[in-house]
Symmetry: C3
Subunit: 341 residues, 3 copies
């Protein structure tokens, strides 16, 4: 199945020679053969490129109608006669690069919709697109080539680097963002964090939230995800860090580069994450702790203390994954005995 032309403009065709070059792959097949789209092995047609990244699906090579396949050298032996291939040790990356050439992200139109409300002293870079009903506050600085979606709000003083995309209904305030930052629809960046003091009468007195959000280059914030600004220091997401939908990042959190937080993760206030930390869906971190570089936190885990670099944690409360697996295997055996433990 090619991309639906209702939603995606038709791609200009690529020759396999061009595709191989884009992917940094070795071509087995006719360099002049053309592809015009991409698709999964079981759905792609003869004008489309597919990929194989998982030995589990290798048997689909025998039946695919795809025009060509990107795959790893160790899979190449399974190639049927007549199926063109782009061979590379990183087939998923190679495939992504070709797909992005065939279907590039929409370029900014360079037009400002007349219904947008833009403060007179906001500075818009070259080629910026501003969608219908969007609102840009006083003194905001929008870098070249940014796309501000319909009904988005960019607050007063916000700075966006070049090529940022702010999705429909997203809001961003009190933030300095690098280039290539993406907010998906409904993302919330820069609002006040959850902070208050208890009064002698048992009520709550709001602690002013006086920090900012600093977003490194190419940070992405998923749909309806929330990143609160710092209370006195800043909330910081490092270069390339990606948040999936509905992730919560509380005030004063700091992450390193290239962290991956899957949907519905929650990070409590003032936690510090190193580079390359990965957290599975619905996992949570309590506040004021440190997670080292490259640590991996399983889905639904609940981390309550510092995590060493490279450590894998699982469970709620979270323990090193090996311990958790062993403990829960033992627990399950207790559940499988008819009489209980």
């Amino acid at each position: 199945m090619a991309a639906d032309p209702r939603f995606f403009p038709a791609a200009a065709p690529l020759s396999l020679a061009e595709a191989a070059e884009i992917a940094g792959a070795t071509l087995r097949g006719d360099p002049a053969q053309r592809i015009q789209g991409v698709g999964p092995l079981h759905e792609a047609g003869p004008r489309e490129l597919s990929f194989l990244d998982n030995r589990r699906y290798a048997k689909l090579l025998a039946t695919t109608r795809a025009g060509a396949v990107v795959l790893a050298p160790e899979m190449a032996a399974s190639l049927p006669e007549g199926l063109a291939a782009l061979v590379t040790p990183q087939p998923y990356l190679g495939f992504a690069r070709i797909a992005a050439r065939l279907h590039p992200a929409p370029a900014p139109s360079g037009t400002i919709h007349p219904t947008a409300v833009i403060a007179p002293d906001a500075k818009l870079g070259a080629g910026v697109e501003v969608g219908p009903q969007a609102v840009i506050g006083a003194g905001a600085e929008i870098g070249d080539g940014c796309i501000i979606g319909p009904l988005a709000v960019v607050g007063a003083g916000v700075v966006l680097g070049e090529g940022c995309r702010i999705g429909p209904h997203a809001s961003i305030s009190h933030c300095i963002a690098g280039r290539g930052v993406v907010l998906y629809p409904g993302a919330r960046v820069g609002q006040e964090g959850f902070g208050f003091a208890v009064t002698p009468e048992g009520g709550f007195f709001t602690m002013p939230q006086l920090g900012r959000v600093l977003l490194g280059d190419f940070v992405e914030i998923g749909a309806n995800a929330c990143v609160d600004r710092g209370s006195q220091s800043d909330t910081v997401l490092g270069v390339g860090t990606r948040l999936d939908n509905m992730v919560q990042v509380a005030h004063n959190v700091r992450t390193g580069r290239s962290c991956v937080l899957v949907a519905q993760v929650g990070i409590s206030g003032s936690a510090t994450l190193g580079n390359g930390v990965q957290m599975g869906g619905q996992a949570g971190l309590t506040g004021h702790l440190t997670v080292g570089d490259g640590a991996q936190i399983s889905a639904q885990a609940g981390v309550m203390g510092d995590v060493a670099p490279g450590e894998r944690m699982a469970g709620s409360p979270a323990w090193p994954a090996r311990e958790t697996l062993r403990a829960f295997a033992a627990l399950r055996r207790m559940g499988q005995k008819p009489g209980g433990a």
Copy 2:
């Protein structure tokens, strides 16, 4: 307590004879008696209809001031003298049908607010209502009688069947929807999923998300819930499937008919659910697995493998509910011993 007239228009009264017919119930009482609203047993007044669905509340029959009650045949023995009743084996359904007659969902006004921004080539069916500041993109097709709420965004090319309701601040793109589909406020449908390849430098390269979202008739998507479009295939929600608030559905997920996903559930990419699957609040499914027809996943469960049809799963990691209950009962006994295990 009747519905507050600030928010709900006064209902035209129904006779008990009419109500019994709507509910498919047998009437015990005066067919000409009139009701004009509904309410719970402890709050309903003499002009209001109530219902009893749970033996726990049967004692309220003795004291209720309700004008009439919908209940099951086996409860009818508890009816006090003089309290009218509509007797049916499905009292909750019967009550819902009468309530919906008294308080129908708002009909589309058939007016387009002058502040809405509608692409010149969008096609709007008969009687469509478009609220203030809403945005409808190029080539979108809006079926007869749809309501597009204030500040909603319908993206380019989107197709909505008859009688859909898109709530305030909801956004929908890259989607083909059947009739009677409802998006609650802030729902996000059709945005890019979470997909990228790792580069040799440890950064991320975005995988273009080239699929769609297909929503069956009468699908409902809760407030601030998110349904990502497919990466190459489509994300599909079957007829009648209902998502509560803040549910996450990742790219390429497919569900059958009439699934029920309670608030804050998360479904990872490429999971497949059969018909009638039910998931309790905050439960999660890891990716690329299959859940059979009629399976039930408990609240907060974390499912990490395929689930057989009709199976009940509980716990994180999730096991068959019977095993989980037994295992945790044993675990709790360990916690109740003063010295620990």
Copy 3:
């Protein structure tokens, strides 16, 4: 680090004498010394006030460059020579009061943006601010000094007390709110809850949701959080209750005063919470249960039954925290034995 002037107006300076009075603290130092901002101990400069609330950070007193520090009497012994101090048994509250005087919440501008769409019969109090593209429905009543943010929606008939703040992209319908209520960006209040009856064919028939949301004075609803209206009764949040981001409150839930629900908490339908209940992040309550005054529910806990006043619960399923801690300690020992249990 002082608050960034891009985002926060410069504060008028306070003398330490004035600050001490605001905080109800005893001053040790020069009453005429001036402060002009606040900051954490390791970042504050000589014109800024800091605070010490936690013995762990007492050693920072020796090196801080802050102009003065708010701290408790028992910490005062650690004060280095020449560092001014405001001594009070409630340093965090005192600090918050001073910070709020230096950096007050933005006052309403008293202007209605020309792009806002306001029903002719809506009633706006004195000094109300309505932002760009906001929508206010028929018959709504907005109290004096409210701020309706850009792109917010206030539904027909909604009543807001004095001094409420409705954030960008927030929506509120079917709601009567007290004074000082705050909705953060993207919060959803008053939409229909998740209710339906099953038809004989296995489909779902929507139960009309005919109740309201009643918000007590000073209730706060976090970014992208959801509070559904009641089905027949009302959903009620008591005075001063605070919801963090992405909290879910289902129909007919009732809370007492000053409850604290941390991010991503989920409360199922018809649960009743007493006064001062606290729930940690990602915790969940099943429906139709009662949680007593002052109960504390740990992060990620899953509460499945009534909770006594003052009880602490932890785990999923949740048990009294002492039992859970002991049980999981025993379980972990099983995971640490090389051979399993």
